[in-house]
Symmetry: C2
Subunit: 303 residues, 2 copies
């Protein structure tokens, strides 16, 4: 229970520019690995592998390390950092991409610093599935591997994506991605399809409607925590996975009870993310705040 | 616990013509009171007040009475029965109305047969809020009153609707209606607004995403039961309310435990409705089938 296990995340660190009904924020800290690592850091030590350009602000780097995340794997390359601009003005549940500049992320070839290969919990955030497969080859022995992806890879690297998912323990997708990958419009059929690809678990994230965990032995559903203040949903899915994987690493035992609880902790971490732009909400909370919300969330769904 | 209390529903009995990806069904039994009463009949005796035309098929009448629903309050008028034609071909979560023929329903002036005024549990299904208020004047003493409404009345009879909701114990609306009536795009704010109108409880139905129960003392959320076969969502909301009110009438005690359980029973009854056109699924199930699904549903959401 108390044996700590390190978490490794491979993904993106980016500069996001976000428009939402709550305002406009320019070049704020973003990227799947940034969101995931900060969320998971509340549960267990986290190592991060990503790439940024030489323009990446030192303040953002300090923000990430202030959560205890190890950045030895954050490679700095000549060039510009990955930038994404999105808007939630029309629909708070679905980002409209205004601009994507891959920059140095286009050439990302993840490199594991010494020691990182010992991490027992690995999260392959949304990157090219061929890179995800390439990274997995660095690991041997028993690991708990989670992965995420997106519509772009479902469409353009379908067979690599399926090959990658087969090698993982758990796949995290949102409902649209799950339906797209499975070709099923029905959620239950889509969930079963994800399991048929090989992973032991599949989590379908439904935004403000919660999440569903599929496994061979059980299905578990949770609604999302109700909030009055939703300012920026960016990163909710990655902080969800961060809370989920973080809790499993902390407890270090994969069983039904912990997996179900992980779905709650993931939901709780995602609920903080959307309350402010970037990872700003996490700068103002601590383990106590998180435990309090976990308790409130349990009350919302307990009989 | 075993003291049975009668339920009274005032609403519509209609002939529906439905197109969905699962097929096409013409002039099948529909209407809020038909759906509600058949659902509630699995829990407690139900009295129905509605109006139909002289063309209403005897087979449909027999179908309703086969569930033990009392039809003394089903007035037959010269003219045609209320007809509604809808399509779910574009969106399974939202009916597109193709045609509405109010016919005799346009002149509906609900009349309570002797004895009906003793019903302790009353459900004012979606009709003109002025008629809902008119009916309530027939009742004195302590009652548990539920109500439903729709976008048409929110728009065109807003103050009557609010006056009516104030007189009820619980209001059932879907998420779009709750947002429209409250003027809030946020679900938590919308729920609080509904309570501010006066009822002790408010239920917001979210279709395939479940339901939320709001009260001053607690909020309770459930996802919807996962199904592989969804054929026709018509009537899901009314059967939800039927299961909810039916369970409360059966237990005859309004407390947090029963109210939370009622949300589950409502969800269970709605889950059967959508599996077939009209009320057809209820012709093939019994209390055991329902209890089995209630158990399965609890497993889906229990920690």
């Amino acid at each position: 229970m108390t044996a700590f296990n390190e978490i490794l995340v491979i993904g993106s660190v980016a500069l996001d520019t976000i428009k939402s009904p709550a305002g406009y924020s320019k070049e704020i800290l973003g990227g799947s690995a940034a969101y995931f690592s900060i969320s998971a850091s509340f549960f267990a030590p986290v190592n991060l592998v990503a790439t940024v350009g030489s323009d990446f602000p030192d303040a953002h780097r300090k923000t990430i390390t202030s959560f205890g995340v190890d950045l030895k794997g954050l490679e700095v390359k000549d060039g510009l950092t990955f930038r994404w601009e999105g808007s939630y003005v029309k629909d708070m549940n679905c980002a409209e991409t205004i601009e994507t500049q891959l920059n140095v992320f286009a050439e990302f070839k993840p490199c594991l610093p010494k020691g990182y290969e010992k991490s027992k919990y690995i999260f392959l955030a949304n990157i090219d599935p061929d890179l995800q497969i390439f990274i997995l080859k660095r690991f041997s022995g028993k690991r708990f591997i989670g992965c995420d992806s997106m519509n772009h890879w479902i469409k353009n690297k379908n067979s690599s994506l399926k090959e990658m998912i087969k090698k993982t323990s758990i796949v995290f997708l949102n409902d649209m991605e799950a339906k797209m990958l499975s070709g099923e419009s029905n959620m239950l059929k889509a969930g079963k399809y994800l399991l048929s690809l090989g992973p032991k678990f599949a989590v379908v994230k439904r935004g403000e409607y919660g999440a569903i965990l599929f496994s061979k032995d059980f299905i578990f559903m949770v609604p999302a925590y109700l909030l009055e203040d939703v300012r920026d949903p960016t990163g909710a899915g990655d902080t969800f996975a961060g809370g989920f994987m973080g809790y499993l690493a902390k407890t270090n035992k994969i069983n039904e009870k912990n997996i179900k609880n992980a779905l709650l902790w993931g939901s709780v971490m995602a609920s903080f993310t959307v309350q402010d732009f970037s990872i700003n909400r996490f700068l103002k909370i601590n383990k106590k705040t998180i435990e309090k919300r976990y308790g409130d969330f349990k009350k919302l769904i307990a009989m």
